[in-house]
Amino acid sequence: MADQLLDVKGLNCPLPILRAKKALKDVPAGGTLEVLATDPGAVKDFEAFCRTTGNELLESKHTDNVFSFVIKRTA
């Protein structure tokens, strides 16, 4: 279970990334954020976001049209 949960279901590019960036500010270093999204583009976008910002993408899952990502704040 992640430390914090962010629901961006129904939102389209670039809102999932922008909301996640904002939410990460409230996650302590080493903590985790789980993001729930319905935008299929978010899969590649969260990979790129994490690579560029230096945060760690611990998990990327797809169940019942919902994509879930767990990001560890390391940056």
Partner: protein
């Protein structure tokens, strides 16, 4: 925002002020800022209108042969000629705004606000302000006034430079 020398940066020239063309610059600016880049936007000519306090953005079918709208379960082309019919561009703009809402796409006002919150630097072209007779009163708070040299100085130091 970090300002150490390893920070990547992006600049863009924003020249268009229609509803459809307003999206790429604001989407890229907010996303780049979220990814840790220092971002500068230079608003010139019709792009300058995107800094007005009150936005009333429109699309036109004119000069846009690729424009199609999803309607009645298919895609309906919008021939250039129909923009001459009164009300067609207004209807297309309303249709586009409804689609934007329905598909969970942010409004331009929302993206612009997020760009400012993320410390995206905005430069309003002074020459365009003079040319089209705008005063700083017409514009939102935040952008600074500048000219081509101001932009070029930023561009020489940026990793990515875009013209939109």
């Amino acid at each position: 925002m970090a300002t150490d020398t390893n920070t990547k940066s992006m600049s863009m020239i924003v020249t268009k002020g229609s509803l459809d063309w307003a999206y790429p610059p604001f989407i890229l600016a907010t996303t780049a800022a979220a990814m840790g880049l220092d971002v500068t936007m230079f608003f010139t000519f019709y792009g300058l209108t995107l800094l007005k306090k009150k936005l009333d953005l429109k699309v036109t079918t004119l000069g846009n042969p690729a424009m199609e709208m999803p309607m009645f379960g298919m895609h309906i082309g919008m021939p250039n000629l129909v923009s001459a019919i009164p009300g067609v561009d207004a209807a297309a703009s309303t249709m586009m705004k409804n689609l934007i809402k329905k598909k969970g796409v942010a409004s331009i006002e929302e993206l612009r606000e997020m760009a400012l919150e993320a410390d995206v630097k905005m430069i309003a072209c002074q020459m365009t302000m003079d040319l089209f007779e705008y005063t700083p009163k017409d514009m939102i708070e935040g952008p600074v006034l500048g000219g081509a040299a101001t932009y070029i100085e930023t561009a020489t130091k940026s990793d990515i430079n875009l013209f939109i």
